[in-house]
Amino acid sequence: MIETVFSAELPVREHLLVQKNRIIGADLAAALDAAADDDAPAAPGPRGNVSRETFAREEERLAPDAGSGAHAAPALNDAQRALLDAAPRLAVVTGIHGDELEGQYVAFELARRLNEHRDQVHGIVDIYPAINPLGINAIERGVPGYDLDLNRIFPGDADGPLTEALAAAVVADIAGAAACVDIHASNIFLREMPQIRINELSADELLPLAPLLNIDFVWVHASATVLQSTLAYALNALGTRTLVVETGVGMRITPSEVMRLTEGMLCLAAHLGIWSGPFEEHGAPLISADQAVSFLNAGAAGVFLPKAAHGRRVGKGELIGVIVDPLTGEVRERVTCPASGLLFTLREYPVVYPGSLLARVLSE
C-alpha cells in the first residue's frame, strides 16, 4: 500500500510527495482485519495502512484531496495501532541523492518479491524509493531549487524550510523500526563494490547486521562531525539501527549487484523475523577500518583512462590508470598502486582535476 510520508504544494498544480510502499505480512493483515471492529476508529494514525481490505474502505471514506496525489493514512483503532506498533518493521530507504539509482532496482525487486509472498512476510517492510523525488526526476544530486545535499540536513526541523521539514518527516516515519537500510550508489564519478559504511560510534550495534546484506566488505570509518547531518546518523542516534550501503555508480543500475543486495535485504528481514521465504547468501564480507584504505588522487588534470579492473586484487606498483592530455597527446601521469589489495573504488567519470579521487584500495 502506498502512503505519503511528506507532502508540500509546488506552485503549479503539483505536490512534492515522499511516498513509501508499506508491505504488511498476511498474518498481520488478518489480525488487523479481525481487530477492525473492536471499536470505532480513532484519528488517522501516524503510520496507518493496514490490509488491502481495510485500506480500501478507509481510502473511500477519507477521500483524499484529488489534486494532491497523496495517500492519506487510514484511520486505525487502538487495537489495530497496537498491533502495528508491536510488529517488527524493516525500513529500506533510497533516493536521498537524485543521481543515485541503484537502489531503485532494489526497491522494485524487493517489493515484487514480498508482494508475491505475503504469506512469508511476518511484520512490516516499508520501502521508501525516493526521499528526493524532485532530484531523481531532474537528474540532480541535491534538491532542485535549494541546491543542497539532503543528506547534510538530518534530522531536519518540522518548522524549518521545506527541505528540513521533509527530513524531519522522514526521520519521524522511520524511527522505531527494527532496522533501516539506506542504499546509496556512489556518484557519477566513482564505481564502488557493494559495501557497508559504518560510523565507528555505531559499530557495536551495526556490525552484527552488516554481513547479512551480501556485500563485499564493511568499512568502519572514523566519526566526523559533518556526518552527524546524515539520515543514518540521525536514526542511529534515536536507537534505530541504520546501515548505509554504497554500491555501483551514479545514474546507472548494475543488475548483478543490486540483485545480490536484494537477497541481502531478505536475509536481514529473515534475521529480524520478518521473512520466512528463501534468500541467497553471498558469503562473509571483509571488515576494515580506515587504516587499511589507501586513497589515490589525481596529481594532474586531464582524462583518466583506467588500466586495472575494478573489484579485483592489485599488486603494489601495478598500473591503475593514466591521465592523458587530449590536446597534446601526452601522458600527464601514470597512476600506480601504493599497496597491494582490493581495488574497491575506481573512477568512472574520465575528466579529472588535481585532487580528483581515482581509486581506493583495501590493503591486504
Binding site: 508540500a8 503549479v12 512534492l16 556518484n187 559533518v226 588534470a301 575528466v351 582535476y353 585532487g355
Partner: protein
C-alpha cells in the same frame, strides 16, 4: 598594494585557476595584527565579490594617502572564479561547496585542496571577515554573524562586532555541517571571525554594498588599521550616496491584485531599523546608512513565517521594515487565476529580517524571518 598568489590549480580544458589576494600594510612579520577579508567562495556571490573589490579600492586610496597603520590586511575578492565565470554556485565538476571543505586537505579532493591552499594563508590572521551567503535563497537585513563554537570569548567578540556598526549581530549555534565552514575553522584556529551578510547575493545592489563596505572600513579603523586623520576625501568617482527610502507607512497590498511584480512597499534597501549612532568616525561613509547601535541577538530568536500554500509570491513587507503582529508580509496568489490563496502575516511585532526572493514559492517552507521587537 601587493598582489599575492595564494593558490594555483591546473585544470582540464580551461586556464589554470589562480586565487589571488591583495595585501596592504606591513608584511606579517612586521605587523602588529592582521586581517583577512574573504569574498566569493561560491560562484553566485556577486554582491560579496563586489563589496570586497570596493574594499580594495578604498584601501588603495588610503594607502596612497599614507593612512594605513601597522596592521596587515589581505583582501581576497573571489576565490571561486571558476564557478563565477560560468554562472555556477558550487564547484563546476562535482558541485561541491568550498565553504564545506575547511580546514581543507592538501592531498584530498579538488575543493579540499582549494580550501587548504586558502586556509593555509589566512589561518594565522588576527581577525577574519567573510562576506557570506545563506543557504536559503532570499534577502537579508544586513548583519554580522558570529558562530558560537564554544571557544570564542563572547564579550571580546561582541566588542569587536560592535565596531562594524551593523544594526544587528547574530550569534549562531553551529549545526554539524557548520563545522566545515571557514568561519567555524577560523575560530578553531584562534582567529576572531565574523561573517558579514549583505542584503542580496547573486546581483549587485550598490547601496547595501556601500553600507557593508563602510562597516568593514569602520571595523578596520576600530582595530587601528586606518589612521582617519590622514584619510583623503572620498574619490570623485565614488558612487552617489544612495537615498534611504522612508519606511512605508501602509504596507498593505490590495487583495487579489493582478500586478504581482509591483512592490507595494520599499525594497528594503535603506529602510532604517535602528537609531543611528551619533557621529561618523571616519568620514568615509558613502552611504548615509549607519553606523547603527548594534543589537545582539541569538539566531534562534528569529521567528519563522512558513507557507502552507504554493504559488506566485507577492511581497508586501520590505526588508528592515518594522511590522506589528498580524501585519501582512506577503500574499500567495494562485498560478491559475491570481486569487489570493494565503496571506502571510507577522506572528510577532518586530523587524523583517529575511524574505524569500523568488517569484514563486513552495508550500511548507520559510518565507520570512522576523526579529521580535
Amino acid at each position: 598594494m601587493r598582489t599575492i598568489e595564494l593558490f594555483r590549480l591546473e585544470t582540464p580544458y580551461r586556464e589554470t585557476l589562480v586565487v589571488e589576494g591583495f595585501a596592504f600594510g606591513p608584511a606579517a612579520a612586521d605587523a602588529r595584527a592582521s586581517v583577512a577579508i574573504v569574498g566569493a567562495l561560491r560562484g553566485n556571490e556577486m554582491q560579496q565579490a563586489f563589496i570586497c573589490a570596493n574594499v580594495v579600492k578604498r584601501l588603495r586610496a588610503l594607502e596612497d594617502a599614507g593612512a594605513l597603520a601597522d596592521v596587515g590586511i589581505l583582501v581576497i575578492p573571489v576565490v571561486n572564479s571558476f564557478s563565477m565565470n560560468i554562472a555556477h554556485r558550487f564547484w563546476p565538476m562535482d558541485n561541491t561547496d568550498i565553504n564545506r571543505m575547511f580546514p581543507g586537505y592538501d592531498a584530498g579532493e579538488t575543493t579540499q585542496r582549494i580550501a587548504a591552499g586558502l586556509f593555509d594563508v589566512i589561518k594565522d590572521a588576527t581577525y577574519g571577515i567573510q562576506l557570506a551567503s545563506y543557504y536559503l535563497p532570499g534577502e537579508f537585513e544586513p548583519h554580522v554573524r558570529i558562530t558560537d563554537t564554544g571557544v570564542v570569548d563572547l564579550a571580546e567578540t561582541r566588542r569587536l562586532a560592535d565596531l562594524f556598526g551593523f544594526p544587528y549581530a547574530l550569534l549562531k549555534q553551529p549545526a554539524p555541517f557548520d563545522t566545515t565552514t571557514l568561519n567555524y575553522n577560523w575560530q578553531v584556529w584562534g582567529v576572531r571571525a565574523f561573517s558579514l551578510f549583505s542584503s542580496v547575493v547573486d546581483r549587485i545592489s550598490a547601496g547595501p554594498a556601500d553600507f557593508v563596505v563602510d562597516c568593514i572600513m569602520r571595523f578596520l579603523e576600530g582595530i587601528g588599521a586606518i589612521r582617519p586623520e590622514l584619510a583623503p576625501a572620498p574619490p570623485a568617482d565614488a558612487p552617489a550616496p544612495c537615498e534611504a527610502p522612508a519606511v512605508p507607512e501602509a504596507p498593505v497590498a490590495p487583495a487579489g491584485a493582478q500586478d504581482v511584480s509591483r512592490e507595494t512597499a520599499g525594497n528594503g534597501e535603506g529602510a532604517a531599523p535602528a537609531p543611528l549612532r551619533t557621529g561618523m568616525r571616519t568620514g568615509w561613509e558613502v552611504s548615509p546608512r549607519g553606523p547603527y547601535e548594534t543589537a545582539f541577538c541569538r539566531e534562534d530568536a528569529l521567528v519563522n513565517v512558513r507557507t502552507s500554500r504554493a504559488g506566485f509570491f507577492k511581497r508586501v513587507a520590505a526588508i528592515g521594515q518594522r511590522v506589528e503582529e498580524g501585519d501582512a508580509l506577503a500574499r500567495i496568489l494562485s498560478t491559475e487565476d491570481c486569487e489570493v490563496i494565503e496571506t502571510l502575516r507577522a506572528p510577532v511585532a518586530g523587524t523583517v529580517f529575511f524574505r524569500h526572493e523568488a517569484a514563486l514559492i513552495n508550500g511548507e517552507t520559510i518565507a520570512f524571518k522576523v526579529m521580535p521587537a
